[in-house]
Symmetry: C2
Subunit: 424 residues, 2 copies
């Protein structure tokens, strides 16, 4: 018997039939004797509709700017999850399962005051735990809590994953099951490399790199929170037939467990290959190599809300000038170049070269900490295929390589293969 | 300067443009220096959509009965007003008016535990009053409060009128303006009698009779509550152009004030003619005239949830048997007859005769307390038109007459005319 948090996203609760299917998944775990709390998103499309109304209102009133504060946005948008939580509770009740919906303010899920992008600060799980012990299923509206101002605060898009992990921490759950439209985390994108395999386990650190690098299974913040609180996450499919799944202790349903690296017995050197498209490269040539120049470059970009990713700066030959290369999202390239042009006198560069249509391919694996030569293998493999490397950055458990987008799929497949990730 | 509660129903907030129009009404009052709180319903159609989902769920899950409890219904259905309150707050903010939305649990609007048909027990208006004093408009989600179980409780359909009156009592408002799709309360239904006139004022007692008798402008409960707490209600149109309305003190915009009879200087004998269609008449012939027989008849009907309206029992000639006549809604006639048949031995009647297709026409007026002959005038006028009277009941301020539905319009026009209510 375990204590479980089950999370279902918008696609899984898109209509009454799918909510019923979710209820069957919950009933299955409940019948197996587990204590269950469920976190649900809004029905697919509902949040977009509500956000659309909010954004349209200033146009309707003829106002110049969107001067409304985020508290009202939150009150409106959070209603989507409220509806789903009630409907799922009714579905469960109709099937004979004791269930009760919970809004963020009822538990309460306490957040900070950053309306629209709030962070969960504390969840008092005591009431829910007591009810779970009596066999009642708690159906919790995801994506929201209540701020210190006693107003609904939403966590930002995709926040339901974070809600689920925070709730799992709050009720000390044994596992947080994330039901989604894929059946786990793969060694790479199966659409790019058909030989990709589902991972049985992946460490929090690796998942963070995979998630932030474009493997969009989970919200990055939820993985961070799971790592901090030691919440084991399990990514699995919501479209499997509940009747075919064994929920008893010790069963091994398909999916990927995200856990502490101690739990991963057979550590691979490389766990997966991630990629991020639509990157643009900017190179500032002959920048004065003096203290403060990095701040002069990236300060203005940050103020312009340009998200800078890879940064490469070589040691200059004579200590006077250097080249500086970095990447930005392709859509921000024009804004970035304008910003740099305006700051040109401060920075003191000779010329700014840019190139859209880049892709960043990353090799991720905790095992590379203790294995030399992982990077060299990647460079050699790409060179063999005639793929030119634009820039390289590395961390303890990741190597990221910037290449022309044309070669993205070839590079992913080549790296996936060279590190032995292809399924047999 | 006054303190006002303004209430807008679902039709008035059906889309963003109409919400904007509501915001203009609010801005107008705010600009005139009044302290303003607004109560809003869900966007037209939204509540029906949500209720539809709730009702469909047991069918989807294959359950036989709707065994869900009303708490979940409430959580789902109350989301409609939540959205409207946020959107109106944003509309006001976009127009430069300081505004804030309030859900029932935030104020709080405390109700009893009768989920789905809860009654408001207390509203703590202190926070809102303080903010109104600073010029902030409170936009309150109607139709809902929070129960002693800390769960959303809805007041039943049409509950936003009651929300508005309760809030007006809670903040000690000078007036509760009910904006609706008509511009006031009329002496009778203008579709039946084109000579109907808008009343400038009507007493609470009269309005209660008019409302419960089928003049569907206001929810009956809201008028009861207004009478108990002495909240002056003003029924007016939400479709008038806000730019054309004078909101200053002493202005006299079109509408009907519902107030204490002391405020009505020139008391008419008869204030209005109401009617209720789709009534059915049941007559029990030769009922034993003994104590307890009324309970034997109406007890079983009440248990079968048949709403009995008019009841007429004559004094029997010899004290042994009597006839008993009463009305029920036409749709409940069959159920009523079955119930009476099952209780036949207990009651001891000889035969039950029934007639659908009845209409109840009522003459309402506080002035008839002190005027003799009001009833006789009605009977004579109807007789003159050859309209047969089936049954009569009277109260202090009302005479109700049951007639064949065929004569409904003629009877209403005849009575409207004979009491001098026709406009010149």
């Amino acid at each position: 018997m375990a204590r479980l948090v089950m999370k279902f996203g918008g696609t899984s609760v898109a209509d009454l039939e799918r909510i019923y299917n979710v209820a069957r998944h919950v009933q299955r775990e409940h019948a197996a004797g587990h204590e269950v709390a469920v976190v649900v998103s809004a029905m697919a499309g509902k949040t977009n509709e509500l956000v659309g109304w909010v954004n349209a209102m200033p146009t309707v009133t003829g106002s110049n700017a969107s001067i409304f504060d985020a508290r009202e946005y939150d009150a409106i948008v959070a209603s989507g999850e409220q509806v789903t939580s009630g409907l799922l509770a009714i579905a469960l009740q109709s099937m004979g399962v004791d269930a009760r919906s919970w809004q963020g303010w009822q538990i309460p899920v306490r957040t900070n005051n950053a309306h629209g992008a709030a962070r969960i600060e504390e969840i008092d799980g005591s009431d829910i735990v007591e009810r779970m012990g009596r066999g009642q299923v708690a159906v919790v509206a995801g994506f929201q809590g209540v701020g210190p101002d006693n107003r609904i605060a939403t966590l930002g898009r995709g926040g339901s994953d974070t809600s689920a992990v925070a709730l799992a921490a709050g009720v000390k759950a044994d596992r947080c099951d994330i039901y989604t439209d894929v059946d786990g985390v793969y060694t790479t994108d199966p659409r790019v490399a058909p030989s990709a395999q589902r991972l049985d386990r992946i460490s929090f650190e690796e998942m963070l790199e995979m998630a932030s690098l474009g493997a969009k299974v989970l919200q990055v913040r939820s993985v961070e929170m799971a790592m901090i609180h030691g919440v084991r996450m399990f990514v699995r499919s919501s479209f499997d037939d509940p009747a075919t799944i064994d929920s008893s202790d010790g069963a091994n349903p398909p999916g990927t467990l995200i856990c502490d690296e101690d739990e991963i017995l057979e550590q691979q050197t490389v766990t997966g290959i991630a990629y991020a498209k639509d990157e643009a490269q900017i190179s500032l040539r002959r920048v004065a190599d003096k203290p403060g120049v990095a701040a002069a470059v990236f300060g203005p970009l940050s103020q312009a809300h340009v998200n800078v990713d890879m940064i490469v700066q070589n040691v200059s030959e004579d200590g006077s000038v250097t080249d500086m290369t970095f990447t930005v999202p392709e859509g921000d390239l024009e804004k970035a170049l304008k910003t740099l042009d305006a700051a040109r006198d401060d920075i003191g560069y000779e010329v700014a070269q840019s190139d859209p249509g880049m892709v960043k391919v990353s090799v991720v694996g905790i095992g590379m900490r203790s294995h030399a030569g992982v990077a060299a293998t990647a460079f050699a493999a790409l060179a063999n295929k005639g793929i030119n490397i634009r820039a390289i950055t590395t961390s303890e458990i990741k190597i990221s390589i910037l290449i022309d987008a044309d070669y993205a799929e070839l590079a992913v497949r080549t790296l996936h293969s060279v590190y032995g990730l292809d399924k047999e």
